[in-house]
Every structure is written in C-alpha cells, then in structure tokens.
Amino acid sequence: MPSMEYDDSKPSWADQVEEEVDEGTLPPPKEIIKGNIKTITEYKIDDDGKKFKIVRTFKIETRKASKAVARRKNWKKFGNSEFDAKGPNVATTTVSDDVFMVFISSKEDLNAQDQEEDPMNKLKGQKIVSCRICKGDHWTTRCPYKDTLGPMQKELAEQLGLSTADKDKPAGSGEPEPAQPAQSKTGKYVPPSLRDGSTRRGESMQPNRRGGSDDNATIRVTNLSEDTRETDLQELFRPFGSISRIYLAKDKNTGQSKGFAFISFHRREDAARAIAGVSGFGYDHLILNVEWAKPSNN
C-alpha cells in the first residue's frame, strides 16, 4: 500500500549552499530496497517554487503461484494501460477506506431490524400516525389531550356533523369552512374505556379543576392563525350553543389576530361541549387549543 508523506523540513545549511550554486536542479529519485520494504524518494518543485520530497513506502510481498499465473503476471500491458508503469496506476487503482463486515450474530438482531422496518412500512400505507384526538403527528395514546377531551370527541362529532349539515351558510362569508369537525366522523375505533365511562368522569372533573369559582361559561381558544376573524369564530362555535360574546385579541396597529380569543356561551354545558369538540382540531393549518378561560385576577 503506498503511503505518501510530504517532507518540508528545513534543509541543512550545506544543502542551501549547494542550492545557491545550481538553482532549480533536483536530486534524482532514489529507490531503496531494505528487506521487504521498498522506499522511493522523489523530489519535486510545485507551482510556488517550493521544493517537495515525496517518500513512498511499499511492502513487497512474495506470493507463490502456479506457473501459468506467474507467467501471466509478467504479461505486457496493453490497450489503455499500454503505457502504464509497472505496478498499479493510481489513476485506475486506489485503496479504499477500511470497511468491515457487519456480522449479524443472533436472530434477535435480525428481528430487531425487521421490526424497525415493518412499522414504518405500515405507517406509510395506513397513515395511523395521525392522532385520533387532535390529529397531531403522534400516537393516540400519547396525545396530551387524551384524558381531557378525547372521549367527548366522538359523540360531539356526530352532533357537529348534523349541525354542519343542515346549517345554512351565511351569505358573503368567503372564509374557509371549519370542515375539520366532520373529519372525526370517519369512524375510527375508540376503545370502550374511552367512550362513555370516562366521558362522565371528564365532565365531573372539569368543574373540580375550575375550583368552583363561578358559573362563567367562557372558553379560551389559542393557537389561532393570524387571519382569523370574529366571523370565523362565530361560525366555528355556533353549533355548540348560543354565544353571548366573542372577543378576538387583535394587534392594535395591524388589526391582525394575536392568536387567541375568548368565547362566552350562555350556558356552561355548551362551553364544555365546545371545548371537547374543537380542542385539538386543525383549523387553518393549526391545531386549536381550547380550554376554560381562567378567571381574571381581581
């Protein structure tokens, strides 16, 4: 294997004196064979006029071969290699980086690899990576809304489906429809533990969390897009019940939405259903987050 090194150490003063005498001439290349190590020393001047000493070290191996093979080893080169010197030409033959055979020693390794690949293939085909609750890019069981809103989703989706179906669309609203609620009607399997029993628990827990502060029926919607208008929110939340007030936070200068809004319902149950129904829905490319509005600190 040819190893190459550049020796640019300072020449001794004696060499320098010599250099001054006949500038530009280089010592002839030397070839030293010592045991099974062949060293070729060459000198070169590069474009900047700097002198280089190139030392190549070869290991000479003697291999025994049959006569036919040995004879072939001495064949003259031909074709495109006709003028190549003896030995491998660096233009066509190089030594590549070290590679190792990766041994797969036990069956477990194989299985592990298979498992690694198989779920990914399945996912590609079936798209089960979208969360049933919030449509997020994770498994349903890992959904952060699993315990709070998920259970109600389904039954509400049906109601929503009905209400959106026979809803007369307000004229002149060119805004995008909240089509997402209808998507949850796709009939994805919801395990029994998440259907009714937990629904009730969720309902009963929510007032507890509120600490029984008041009968405020206001919800806070966050992660709205900048283009959201009050009319959109009205359209989105009207199916859940009559709305008393909508407050959309807007930038004073630009008038664009700041990304959150408060919706006050007349009835607390409607608000609860709205939370369950809309939280986690994709709306204008964003996943809405709906929760109870915290009481203003006074």
Partner: protein, 325 residues
C-alpha cells in the same frame, strides 16, 4: 479489510468475472471497454477496445487464452487475452445479453435480446471450426419466442446451457441438439444473474422478485431460497464456505430519490444451509450489479451501478465466524 477500488469504467458495471485461477478479474460496463485486472493488487493489465456499445457480458476460457464479450452494439467478440487483439467478430441482429465458454473452451454460446423486431436466440459456435466464425453461421441457433434470456451459464461437462428468462423461468438447453432438457419456474420475476458453483454442480440465481435461489444444475431441483426486501441483481456461491453473497438494492431509476442509508446497497452474506443472513459489507454508492467470489474463496469482488469495482479480501474474522443456529 481495505478494498481495492478499480476505476476503469465511466459507467455502471454490468458484469465481473474471475478467470479459472482467479489471478485476473474481467470487468465490463455500460461503456465500451472491457478491463482486465490483476486481482492481487488491482493493477490494470489492459483493456479490450473495439466495442461501440454497452458491454453486457464477459467470459474467459479455462486456460485464460481467449476472452469473449457481448455487447449492445449487436456483436459478440473474441479477444486474445494476453495482447488484447480482437480475434473474431460475430455480428448479430440485436444486443448480446449473455455469453460463455464451455469448460473445454471449444464451444461458445451467446444469447441475443428480443428487440427491434428480432427474436431472442441462443447461438452456439464451435471454435475448432473456423468456417463457422468466418461465415458467422452458428452450428446451432435456438429461438426463444416467448420470453427472452436474461442470464445464462454452462452446465457441467459442456452438455447443456442453463438459461434464466425474463419471466422467472429456467430452461436447460442441450448443446448438442438444442432440445429443452428441463424446464422449471421458481421465480416470479426476471432472473438478473445466474452463477454456477466452482464444480458446476449447483447454480444460484438472482431475481428481481427479491430472492436468490440455489439449484442443482443437472436435475434443476430447487434447493434453497434466500430472501431480501430488495431486487437481487447478482449472487455468487463461495467455493470454500457454505456461504453465498448477494448484491442488489433498489432499482437504478429510484436511486436518485433516496439516500444511500436506506438504499440497501450492501453486499449481503447468507449461510447457504440455514438460509440466514449473517453479514453485510458496505461500500458502494449505488446498487451492486454484480458480485463474484475469487476461486480461492478468500476474497470477493463487487461491481456497482456507481461504476466502481471493489475487491475485498476477507478478514480472519470472516473465516472464524460461525452462525449460531
């Protein structure tokens, strides 16, 4: 191990082959030259220049005197191995897909593609009769009307040629009278490669249907199946171990859309008896088109779609390794 990288081609490698002793390695590619290398140090001995199209196949006779190549320039050429001189030019109507010397080196066979309105033919020439070469008249030409031959190899004793077809079927064609001796269909898709064991008693086929299969050459009995999840382009049987090596990967047309990490461009080693994979060797930047074991079993070479041929000498670990069954 440190592979020797052979950069003699400008386009993807189509076939590589060792001569009988394994001191020379022939490589052909979709460019027009045929290279011959010393397998021990990767030194290029020379090139056989003359073809004007992609070269699909190469073979060398048993005493390394003659070299046979088949090309998409509608010709099959015979070369003097030592000097690189062209000895004979056999013109055909369509591209030559496979070629081979029988063990004696006296009879050559080659198959042509079904294209441009021409049928697929399996042709036999006897080199001892110069008249056949001169007249370009094979002593036997077998038409294959249904499915073209995509790979072929000589069976033992020069009695027949085993041909793998486009539809995954194998035929044994008698070299004497062209009769179909045996017919089996074990693959569902095209057979990309077909290589015999050193003693010619077995052969391994590599198919686009993601498997490689081991067969008995004479009886055509299916012995073993090696499964992967990508099309197999080539497979070879180790002459000294119960191992087979397979090269493949996704199809060339899909390569540009994926990274090398998921392309599965490794050479994969399977145990021939347990049909289980035990090792992989990385290196190529594209699918492996051809693999070949050195006849001494201590090294193997692979040629890839990336245009490189790599010669790998096995580390001692390879010989010590035992598969836990």
């Amino acid at each position: 191990m440190r592979p020797i990288l052979l950069q003699g081609h400008e386009r993807s490698i189509t076939q590589i082959k060792y001569n009988r002793e394994g001191d020379l390695l022939f490589s052909v590619a979709k460019d027009t030259v045929t290279n011959v290398w010393y397998s021990v140090n990767g030194e290029r001995l020379g090139t056989y220049n003359g073809h004007t199209g992609a070269v699909w196949c190469v073979d060398c006779d048993w005493d390394t005197k003659n070299v046979l190549t088949g090309s998409a320039d509608n010709s099959c050429r015979l070369w003097d191995c030592q000097t690189g001189k062209q000895l004979a030019l056999l013109e055909t109507n369509s591209a030559v897909r496979t070629c081979g010397f029988d063990y004696s080196g006296n009879i050559i066979m080659f198959s042509t593609d079904k294209q441009m309105g021409y049928q697929c033919f399996l042709n036999f020439f006897d080199l001892r009769d110069p008249q056949q070469i001169e007249d370009n008249q094979p002593y036997q030409s077998i038409p294959c009307n249904d499915h073209k031959i995509t790979s072929a190899a000589w069976g033992p004793l020069g009695e027949f040629v085993i041909a793998g077809h486009e539809n995954g079927e194998f035929n044994q064609f008698s070299a004497k009278d062209g009769e179909i001796l045996k017919k089996v269909k074990e693959h569902t898709k095209q057979i990309n490669d077909l290589q015999t064991s050193l003693d010619l008693t077995m052969f391994i086929s590599a198919s686009k249907d993601n498997t490689a299969k081991l067969f008995d050459s004479a009886t055509m009995d299916h012995i073993k199946t090696f499964r992967t999840e990508r099309p197999v382009n080539s497979a070879a049987i180790s002459p000294i171990m119960d191992h087979v090596v397979m090269g493949g990967g996704q199809e060339a047309m899909e390569v540009t859309t994926t990274s090398t990490r998921i392309g599965k461009f490794e050479a994969r080693f399977f145990h021939a008896c347990y049909e289980e994979e035990f090792g992989r060797v990385k290196g190529h930047f594209g699918p492996i088109n051809c693999v070949a074991f050195h006849p001494d079993g201590k090294s193997y070479a692979s040629g890839g779609e990336d245009g490189y041929t790599r010669i790998h000498c096995f580390d001692p670990q390879y010989f010590d390794f035992e598969l836990e069954a």
